[in-house]
Symmetry: C2
Subunit: 196 residues, 2 copies
């Protein structure tokens, strides 16, 4: 199952990596399984790990003043997830990360992440590219969120992430899109009627 990680690194870098380089990653990380509804990261606590999902599903979210959950990111197999600002700055996490299914992940501690980058500068590059990709998709998302209607955003979401639709509860998708679950229900109904 761990070969998924190697493939992820090589695909991101656009080149194969030597065995010793990958072995170093394995030596500095470890695999762990979690039950459904387990908190990987808790808001306000320090977030020590970055998670690469081998199996399962989880999501990060933030709770606003009114106490509403707002999904920020989803992660299935082959995705990385963490509290981006907390992990890198060692400050308190802004978001929660919680499993949606029984989940197995590779955990990389911040210290080991830094060690890894020192040992193999190619890992510095790997994480840089990972973040570039992340950044691009976030900009795209912001642009769409600010300028398109909810129905369009939902269609775009199903087009880009068809796997998510199957495995993630609808009320979380609604909050990811910035709308109420009832509104998403209504939108789905309208779209279904139109296409029939």
């Amino acid at each position: 199952m761990i070969t998924l990680l190697r493939k992820n690194i090589e695909a991101t870098l656009g080149q194969p990596i030597p065995d010793d380089m990958f072995d170093r990653f394995i030596a500095l990380s470890f695999e762990k399984s979690f039950e459904k509804k387990h908190y990987l990261v808790v808001e306000g606590a320090v977030c020590h790990y970055q998670y690469f999902i081998l199996q399962g599903a989880c999501y990060s979210y933030y709770i606003n003043e009114k106490g509403e959950k707002n999904a920020v990111q989803f992660a299935l197999e082959n995705y990385w997830i963490s509290d981006p600002s907390g992990y890198f700055t060692r400050k308190k996490a802004n978001f929660f990360v919680e499993t949606l299914e029984p989940t197995t992940a590779v955990l990389l501690h911040r210290k080991n992440f830094e060690q890894l980058c020192r040992d193999y500068p190619l890992y510095d590059r790997f994480f840089r590219i990972l973040m570039q990709n992340h950044l691009s998709s976030l900009y795209y998302r912001i642009a769409k969120t600010n300028s398109e209607e909810a129905a369009y955003r939902f269609q775009e979401f199903t087009r880009l992430y068809p796997q998510f639709i199957q495995r993630i509860p609808q009320y979380l998708i609604a909050s990811y899109l910035g709308i109420a679950p009832q509104s998403l229900s209504r939108i789905r109904r309208n779209l279904a009627q139109q296409s029939s």
Copy 2:
């Protein structure tokens, strides 16, 4: 004026850098001035440069199907701006970048950026941290956009970026916040009445 760049790098890294390292940056980049309303990046074209603003102001935006401009990012002195996905991937830019004032910037070509990272791995780290910071603020922005009302978002914007309010036209701030310029006008009036 170029010392602003050095300070930016050192502040981001959290450590001073040796002279030869900074000189290498100077050797691989160049300074250029632009008039107001000049396009630094054009959507659909390849974006070769990353810009560090020494003086002036510019913004990136995207145009949706209806032909509406949507501000994505603003940049004043001491800010970096580019088309994040186009610059790194060599693919076509998604966004425009345009000056709002006469602007002087340091231009770093993608090839030289890569050279720089090869010559000094600390630059790899610098750009990684730059992106981490960028990523954190984008996540924060998404979370707020999806869960807070426009009036709150505007107040948050003025709190975080008071300098922007002075120098950036209101209709662009409105589009950055995801609302119509008339709505921002209304919001400002309501806030002014409340506080008096």
